[in-house]
Structures are given as structure tokens and as C-alpha cells.
Symmetry: C2
Subunit: 258 residues, 2 copies
Amino acid sequence: MTCWARYRSGDGSEGFGVLDDAGIAEYRGDMFGSPRPTGTTLARGEIKLRSPCAPSKIIALWNNFHALAEKLGKRVPDHALYLIKPATSIIGHLEPIRRPAAYQGKIAFEGELGIVIGRRCSGAGLADAADAIFGYTCVNDVTAADVLNENTDFAQWCRSKGYDTFCCVGPVIATGFNWSRARVTTKLDGVERQNYPLSDMIFPPEHLVSQISHDMTLLPGDVIACGTSLGVGSIRDGATVEVQIDGIGSLVNTLAPR
Amino acid sequence: MTCWARYRSGDGSEGFGVLDDAGIAEYRGDMFGSPRPTGTTLARGEIKLRSPCAPSKIIALWNNFHALAEKLGKRVPDHALYLIKPATSIIGHLEPIRRPAAYQGKIAFEGELGIVIGRRCSGAGLADAADAIFGYTCVNDVTAADVLNENTDFAQWCRSKGYDTFCCVGPVIATGFNWSRARVTTKLDGVERQNYPLSDMIFPPEHLVSQISHDMTLLPGDVIACGTSLGVGSIRDGATVEVQIDGIGSLVNTLAPR
């Protein structure tokens, strides 16, 4: 398993590479192509992580876990149900979530597994879909909950989930990650609020990639957020959310205090 | 008024410039910055138009015309209601709309005014929002109508409107265009199906840009499709849709025959 990250170093320069306990081994070229190591390693203290990729789009699943579907009394869908979050909503590990200026309402966290696409993918069967997956990351799919159903004629999925900073992604992209035995754990100010098995997914990753690739072309760096399960809650201003998946890492973001 | 277009020439090279009856005057640099004319003009017959911009996101309005709201019995909203179409859905003038492979259902056209953003824009007041508008284009916001309400728990706005080729944009971006006296006319195989005044908009362009910029940062080239009014209908395979706005031009796309 390899953990890819993007970073900004003290002098403001940006790069990417492979992260381990020692630091980050710098690479050049295309992360999703044939990147080359430069031989330079930067210590953890010298860098700040950015979101590990810059997606052209984020596809966020709704109702993709049996346990949550059952709790909400929703039918198991026949096809992946999703909305699109804009690229401008992305932030990385330790970057602050910002409350929209005029919004006083509830802001919800959702800890999720994120799929990162590694190659252009259209109309893919399951095998090609699996090959198009570069790796996996953690996602906190943030929602301005009171905006979602503010208008009774039209559920505002894209708006309530599309604000700048409302898509936390990171800390890394783990390749060779086996999601089938992993769990997603979400802590709010250190208290566990979500702890669910990825094996409970209705549409597992290669099915999601295959289905969605029949709707729209997926591009390298695009992220599919696999949906959440039980335990979603709201974030007070100043509170910290940690989404942790064993084998990927811990994604930590604070809702900036007012 | 200046009409900007992007093109592909016979040798496969791509460029952009100012289009008039004589042809296209080639420019270099950033269309939204300070592009420089090269002095070369290509004849209309030498080029094929592409979509006039490459948005990072397309924001598509719902329920933004009084006449349609009244017909559908919907309340006039307090805030712009929208979904996001992915960048991969874009095609330009004369490029074919393609039916999704496994989809046999109704495909609908919606003729619309499109706003093209010219500068990065976040939290903008009305004056800054007006300044952030580079120009206007025609949009055909295509929908796989049977997908939209296929699942009774979740309206699939992004999926039904997000398929590759489902966002026709063009033929040009007109700067200095006065939308307030213009009409949108949509013809299906030459027969007029929509003809509505833009003055009937609930949220006019600078209000849309201002409101949406408080939700998410708008980037140069981003497109806001202002929503449609009366006369939406379905496109048979092989049929041609023409969205025409005086002062911008005529956007023509055919649903590819099976």
C-alpha cells in the first residue's frame, strides 16, 4: 500500500509524493501517470498537506448503506443515487471548514470512503471500473442541513453540500487498499459518533464507478464519495471532526469558530 | 458587442477569437484576461466551433421564470434554486447530443440564456456580480426526463441532466449583450416550441451571480444556465433543436439517430 499526498512547503511551493512516517518522498510528473521520484524527502514538519487530488467533480452518493436505509425507512435503490459537489468545495486535512456568512443553521458531518479515479473512464464494465480506481481516501461530506429542505418544491442537494470548504478530502490517497474489511470511524471533538463497516455498502466501489461511468465520463482525480451510514450529526462552531479509516489515515477538520 | 468563440481548424489545432460574418479573428492568451489578436483571420469554412468556454462547473437554475412557475403551480422561490451539471456534459454548436446507451426514455430540451463568468467571484454584491459577468451564450439544458423521477425517494437532477453531451452551449459568448429586451426562441426540427422574454426571469443575471457567489466561488468560464420557461418538450432521435437569442446567435444540436 502506498499513500500519495499533495503538499505545500514552507517556501510556498507545491508538490506531491509518497507519505510515510519519515516524511514525504517528492515525485514529479503526473500522479496518475508515471510519476518519477526526485530523490528528495521532506520532513513532516516542513510541509502542510493539501487535498490529495484536485477533482474536476465530486460525486456524492445518497442512500448507499443498508443500515442507514433501514433506519430511514428508504427502499434499497436499483441504481446509485447521487449529487455533484463542485471542485471549489474541496479542502484538505487540517484546513478549516467555513460557515457560510449568512447561514446560522445546522452544519452536519458525514464520514465517508472516497474513491479516487486514476484514468479516464466511460461506459466501463466491472473489470475496467476496478482498473480505473487509483486509490481511496477519507471524505467528510459537509452539509448545511437547514438549506437542504428550505424550499419545499426542490431539495437543494447541490447548494447545501456545495459551499466552499464543504468537501474535506484526505489526508492521502491509499493505493492497494482493501475496503471490504475496513470501517469508517468519525469522531466529533474526540467522541466517536460513527463506526460502520464498508462491507454494508449497497453499491461497492467498482459498481459505483461502472454505473456512474455510464452516465458521465470520469476523469483522473475525480472523487466518488461512497455515502455515509448511521451516526451523522451536527458540528458546533469550533468543533473538530475526524474521519478515520484504517489503512488510509485520519482526516481532521475544524469548523472555524465565529 | 463582441462574439467570442473557440474553434478547431482543419489541421486539428485549437484556438479562440472573435467571430463575425467574415470569419474568426484569431487571439492568443486568456480569453477572460487580456487576449491579443494575432492578425490572422480564418474563414468560417476552415473551422468548426467548439463550446465557447470550458467551465469548471455549470449551474443550472430551476423555477426561474414567472410564467413557468405559474403554469406548474410552484411558488416563486426566495433564493435561486439550482443543480450542478458536470464539465463533461458540455458540447458546442453542431456537436451531436448522444442518447445514453441503456436509456430508451424521453429526452427533453430546454432553451436557456447562459451567463459566462469572466473573473473569480466570491461573496459578490450586485455591482461586483455584474462586473464578474464576461458575457452571455445560448444553452440547451438536456434532460433524460424518465431518470429524473425514476426513484421516488430522491430526484435525480444531477444524473438526469449530467450525461455526456447533455449541456449544449454556444455558438459564441456575446459581450455587451442587453438581455432585458431579448427573447429565447427554441425550434424543434424548425417548428417554434419556445418563445419567451428574458424580462420574465425571477432572479436576473446579476442577482444569480451574486447569490450563487455567496454559496460557492465562481471561476472564469463557469456557466450559469438561467432556467427555462414555457414550451419544454421532448426530442426524438434524429431531431434537431435550435436555441436562438437575438444578439447572441443560434445554437443547433441534433440528437444522434440510433
